[in-house]
């Protein structure tokens, strides 16, 4: 399968297979007026299978979202067809306005303007909890 290489943009590589689409949605790439490729289940020596997202546009990327979905992913900034920079990814301590609390008893379900905020409570098991009701994300 041939996917054009990009000239100025971002490549999110080493995404755990199956998480590419979720990352695409949470990064709101569907709203972007640019070429975006999601490549699923690419063979990887290290991971067996992986997903890749290529974005052909100079856009700011929310590294917290990537850190939340898959802290093992890598982010490469491409300029003039060359690798300009590799960004390191970490799990964010706080995740603001990315995911929504699903607990119907949570104050976020009625307080319309309230930003949904989750905090990392267990790094080892990647557990995020709503700061208001402590429900697991």
């Amino acid at each position: 399968m041939n996917i054009d290489s990009i000239r100025d943009g971002v490549v999110i590589d080493h995404i755990k297979a199956g998480e590419g689409m979720r990352l695409y949605e949470l990064l709101k790439l569907d709203t972007l007026d640019a070429s975006v490729a999601i490549i699923k289940n690419v063979a990887s020596r290290k991971m067996g299978k992986k997903d890749i997202i290529k974005i052909d546009a100079k856009i700011p990327i929310d590294l917290d979202v990537i850190g939340y979905v898959d802290p093992g992913a890598t982010v490469n900034i491409i300029r003039d067809g060359e690798l300009r920079e590799k960004r390191s990814i970490e799990m964010p301590a706080l995740l603001k306005g990315v995911i929504k609390c699903k607990n119907p008893r949570c104050i976020t379900s009625t307080e319309q303007e309230l930003e949904h905020i989750f905090k990392l409570t267990d790094r080892e098991n990647k557990v995020y909890r709503c700061i208001y009701c402590e429900t697991k994300a």
Binding site: R105, C106, I107, E111, E113, L114, T121, I131, Y132, C133
Partner: protein
């Protein structure tokens, strides 16, 4: 601005300080009779609760302060759709401190984020109720003289019972505490509490469905009510509500210095005949709650620079 949303907002040292002040209030009430003169407590109760609201109000009156009260969501601007954030901003203009109960989990935190005066969480749905835990802790301290080395049985609804989760969290900070978790399968302590609190702190615990077998080893028995309002399904509530009933007969096998606690209100889970047993401490617990609320109001107003 310090607010109290969760019992963990208070350090062990702060809890000891509150207990010391509460003991002082019990011995020398006259010394504090005007401590909050000219100060106002707003009690915003958006969910029915007579006892907690009256406890806060009695606490403020006994400190010489005054009270502004909202006792149901229907009679407040919340009925007109006002947000908790706006309510907190507005009430901050009238009161020096706010005690709030709200059916939604996290509502007190939202209030604290927007209020310009200290906020005390008087219960946010099934989430936290820190002043109940303070009442529990003072009761245990007065009955046992220590938190260390106690075997604490928790019985009934350990799944939705917010007072149970808070008490476990608070007592897990002391050494040698052991928990016996007594509940039907459906109302067992959530696994995240076991993992994040008990296992993380290396606390010994056992789980059982049998109250009679567990009783002889206990220093504290904390009974809870199965709460109708926490169930989406009425059938489940009806099936589980009378699972445990503590009777005089069952208490025969318990230690002579056992302390029986209950956050109240009780329904059927403690037989009325148990009330006259010297081991029944649940009405003392109510009084202790008032003293701890007094101590907490004093502490927060002092820290806010209001006193």
């Amino acid at each position: 601005m310090k607010s109290i949303i969760d019992i963990v907002d208070l350090s062990v040292a702060e809890i000891e300080e509150l207990i010391a002040v509460a003991q002082e209030l019990i011995v020398n009430p006259g010394q504090y009779a005007h401590a909050c003169a000219g100060k106002k407590l707003a009690t915003l109760f958006f969910e029915p609760s007579t006892r907690t609201r009256l406890s806060f109000e009695a606490a403020m009156y006994e400190l010489g302060g005054q009270v502004l009260s909202v006792s149901s969501a229907d009679s407040s601007s919340a009925a007109k759709g006002e947000s908790v954030a706006d309510t907190a901003r507005v009430i901050s203009c009238y009161a020096d401190i706010i005690a709030m109960r709200h059916p939604k989990e996290g509502a007190a935190l939202v209030a604290a984020q927007h209020a310009t005066v200290p906020v005390i969480n008087a219960g946010d749905g099934g989430h936290c109720h820190p002043t109940q835990t303070l009442a529990d802790l003072l009761t245990i301290m007065r009955e046992k003289g220590t938190f260390n080395g106690l075997t604490v049985g928790l019985c009934g609804d350990l799944k939705f019972g917010r007072t149970v989760h808070s008490l476990i969290t608070a007592l897990s900070r002391y050494s040698g505490v052991k928990f016996v978790l007594i509940s039907p399968e459906e109302l067992k302590l959530p696994s995240y509490v076991k993992r994040d609190v008990l296992k993380k702190n290396g606390i010994e615990y056992e789980q059982t469905e049998n109250l009679e077998e567990a009783l002889p080893a206990l220093d504290i028995l904390y009974m809870t009510r199965v709460q109708r309002e926490r169930f989406f399904n009425e059938e489940d509530y009806l099936r589980l509500k009378d699972h445990y009933v503590l009777s005089v007969e069952k208490l025969k096998n318990a230690k002579p210095d056992l302390a029986v606690l209950h956050p109240l209100p009780r329904v059927n889970e403690i037989s009325v005949a148990v009330d006259s047993d010297p081991r029944a401490c649940y009405f003392k617990q109510v009084l202790n709650g008032k003293y701890m609320r007094m101590a907490l109001i004093l502490k927060l107003l002092k820290e806010a620079g209001t006193l």
